[in-house]
Subunit: 342 residues, 2 copies
Amino acid sequence: MRKKVSTLKEIAQKLDLSTSTVSRALNDHPDISTTTKQKVQKLANKLHYTPNIFAQGFRKNKTNIIGVIVPNVTHYFSSTLIKGILKEADIKGYKVIITESNNDIKKQSEMLQTMAQFGVDGILMSVSKKTKSFTDILDIMNRIPLVLFDKVSYKIPCTQIVVNEAEASYKAIEHLIQTGKKRIAIIKENKFSYNSERRYEGYLKALKQNNIEIDNKIIVSCEDLNLEQGRRMTKLLLSLKHKPDAIFTITDSAAIGVIKTLKRFKIKIPREIAVVGFSNSLYSTIIEPKLTTIDQPGEKIGKTAVTYLINEIENPEERTTSKTVEIATNLIVRDSSLKISY
Amino acid sequence: MRKKVSTLKEIAQKLDLSTSTVSRALNDHPDISTTTKQKVQKLANKLHYTPNIFAQGFRKNKTNIIGVIVPNVTHYFSSTLIKGILKEADIKGYKVIITESNNDIKKQSEMLQTMAQFGVDGILMSVSKKTKSFTDILDIMNRIPLVLFDKVSYKIPCTQIVVNEAEASYKAIEHLIQTGKKRIAIIKENKFSYNSERRYEGYLKALKQNNIEIDNKIIVSCEDLNLEQGRRMTKLLLSLKHKPDAIFTITDSAAIGVIKTLKRFKIKIPREIAVVGFSNSLYSTIIEPKLTTIDQPGEKIGKTAVTYLINEIENPEERTTSKTVEIATNLIVRDSSLKISY
DNA sequence: AACGTTCCCGCAATCGTTTGCGGTAGAAAA
DNA sequence: TTTTCTACCGCAAACGATTGCGGGAACGTT
């Protein structure tokens, strides 16, 4: 069994001190003399003493656990976020409990509940894009520090860590325009997806600033974009009389579908139609031609989110001011779009 | 703050009962009358009572947390394992704490320590292939139930959940032979990698059973196989006078490197050289030609591991018998290998 | 010598829950 | 009526660490 661990009492007895003294000695309390501290430290090391985390948490009402809720751990981007979270949390001495919401709002609010009930010190969440009611989230927020990342919502007044989506897609479209493309299609999700909408914003802005007409025929949307949907949307775009000369998808996996379909129809990439994705996923260098896409620094986002969350946990006065932190992205030009020629 | 939660004492006071009675009522203890139980239940629901997990854990020395240690969460296969773990743990009422070892044995043993000190009820681990000393693992094992999965070691006497690696690669090689290939190369890792060795076993067995000569020139190894190494190894194999007509890699990502290199050298896949990978990673359908590979059901492995672990946690007598559970794999034939012609 | 300080340290309560043991009321048996 | 037996329930200790408070010893100050 687990009863091999030593307790404060044991140390106290062996040293003929009280448990309080031992506790204070270990916590470097000023009331304790240096000699006593040293003696206690020494014996504690020898006995491999480690404080019982439950007694501690129980007493201090602190668990040093942060809860993380993501839609799906198998998405590459999610996993890079998690990597960053784990790394930073480890450094700061926190443990991480991870759960999946699977984009199911019922599950999501359930997870929120159990996390709270479990007593995590703070919650890091990527909100499901289907979330329509925020009451439960707001409720939790009153009790536990919450930081949103990646998929956020302006309806929740807490600190949010995001990439500058609009700017990122603005850069992507700018790039396409600079390479001479004039009829740029976008494949996006419907308006309930926060990220999709912001990326769409950037698209619109870039076109407007370059005096390019916005044509709704080459703006296609669907729910839950994926490779298959990418394929379908591409066929739709190819059936147009006036075809696009570039396709921007708000997702890498959709972009893969686009490329595969274009290749099947023997359309030259990027000369006839250029393709740009979003995410810099693992696929992007596997597919041929290699995909031009936007790199979202997942690890950095995760790390930043943890930093802000722990800050709010440890400094409750910080909790009132909710900020939005934007992480910069990079456009990575590969073979699916033209190079700029001077 | 968090002080909104109600306690046993509160309920007891409002109902003019003792906390013990309330506790027993909530735990469905036979000593308590049905009417009392109902009253308690009702009020508990009304007050949104949830037991303080720390007081509980403190008292019962049980946390309902299982610790998971994997080398790298961003590997697709790892993330599917995690998905399975999360799902099953959630069903069984356990929380999951995840950490990465990054294939660093120091980190790994550190993680093991903090998990133990943290008081997890059990540990699920995929051991780093560099692990040479097992003393710390064995030490932990005496205190906490441990189940190994994916990357295991026969030097640790605990239950292990693996795919039948040897059989899987045997199937792969058999398939290649049946499609007429006679000179089959293998790209593997060095002998410190448990998985690699077992896959190599299957390779050897298949060749022997089909009376095919084993040629060490087309058996190439390296440490930490990846896409780049796949490329390098392929060039090495192509430089041979007597080239292989099929390449089996023990990793999908290496297989991608192989395919990319073969394409660069204008070698027809699968006619001149067929390629088979291992893992059924996400890449396998992105690359062209699509990769023939072995599907490892990650979610199922994760789920199974959790099941066995919780069984050992809740039934200490089970802990003595250590079993090896093998999960079946499937060969998925795609375009990088020939179809069998009858 | 009497008093005030400072430095260390111990006592005991506390956190919320569980559980062994003992106790009481009421019913049933004598 | 007395005794025995259930069926229910409460008392209090326990888990391990933390902390307010109080106190003794040693020293310095008048």
